[in-house]
Symmetry: C2
Subunit: 226 residues, 2 copies
Amino acid sequence: MATNQEEVSLLGVVGSPFVCRVQIALKLKGIQYKFFEENLVNKSELLLKYNPVHKKVPVFVHNEKPIAESLVIVEYIDETWKNNPILPSDPYQRALARFWSKFIDDKIGGAVWKSVFTVDEKEREKNVEESLEALQFLESEIKGKKFFGGEEFGMVDIAAIFIAFWVPMVQEIAGLELFTSEKFPKLYNWSQEFMSHPVVKEVLPPRDPLFAFFKARYESLLADSK
Amino acid sequence: MATNQEEVSLLGVVGSPFVCRVQIALKLKGIQYKFFEENLVNKSELLLKYNPVHKKVPVFVHNEKPIAESLVIVEYIDETWKNNPILPSDPYQRALARFWSKFIDDKIGGAVWKSVFTVDEKEREKNVEESLEALQFLESEIKGKKFFGGEEFGMVDIAAIFIAFWVPMVQEIAGLELFTSEKFPKLYNWSQEFMSHPVVKEVLPPRDPLFAFFKARYESLLADSK
């Protein structure tokens, strides 16, 4: 259980959708924490010590106990701080929340990324097709709901921040149309609703530098392939 | 909560490590269920209806409510039937159990499979290396414990049934040495302990037909590549 003498830290980088998930959860729960900005080109001793397996961010550290993997962290936060629940209390609804969160990681993250940051035309086409197919499942799943979690946002919404904020940015850079209001009107409405939620709005990274970062990466990829 | 009028079904195939995970959980909890054997070449209406997203087994159906994804199902079973707990009660230990279960799925399943069922030599070497590296992390993690879960087996053990039972079989077929008692003595001891546990022993599929099935698949792959 949470006590008054909490030591809560997050090792991350600004601009990572996985780190952002944890930040949304922490903000929703109203938890104060120290943010340690990592340099992924020169990883800190702390990161290597706390996540020797993957050596990746985010790493969440609660009273010196480290946890890696964004969705594992989000569940831990939800189980440790009980206010503003992130997962539903009903076991079946919890299972569905876990299913869709995993779906987003397995079927959308990689496919969208490879749609954008791929030189090979065939590879891109395949990934574009997979991205669209996966997004269609989410379009059906959001139905007429305000959030995936219902009236309040939850685990699936947090997992899907990648779709709301990152996908529009990287598709613009590559001149692709993956996630648009025409193709996925309900999911698009959800994304607007979610990003204007006070909790989410406050933790989203600034768009312009991130856009410039991804654009440079995309252009360097194109240049290398010529 | 569980009631007396339970309808519990499992759509699966004998010989799938993912289906076996669910069977171990059900056996541990002492839950009676109907098993529907799927033909994956000609999938049933029921499977397509209950898992329209992935169209894969296992699908667990509890009182007409379907759940897919083996680890999601195992957590659901643990939350619904409280006897013989599968996940620890402490949130931090739960997070670690989820972390290692995910690690097994992300880092071992695919790498071992591609080590065996790959024609390309470079691709095989890369995957063998990744498999060994990942197994080493589990060798360190099991330490001197009887099970990953401690004195009783839990979520990580269930996730790792693939390593105990399937890996020795497919590596033998391909003439590879991935998971051996010399390379990973502690993990090997764990695997023997786990497979001789009465609950696990009773749900493991018969080895010989499965070995023949994988061998035929391996030989057909080799033949196709000539």
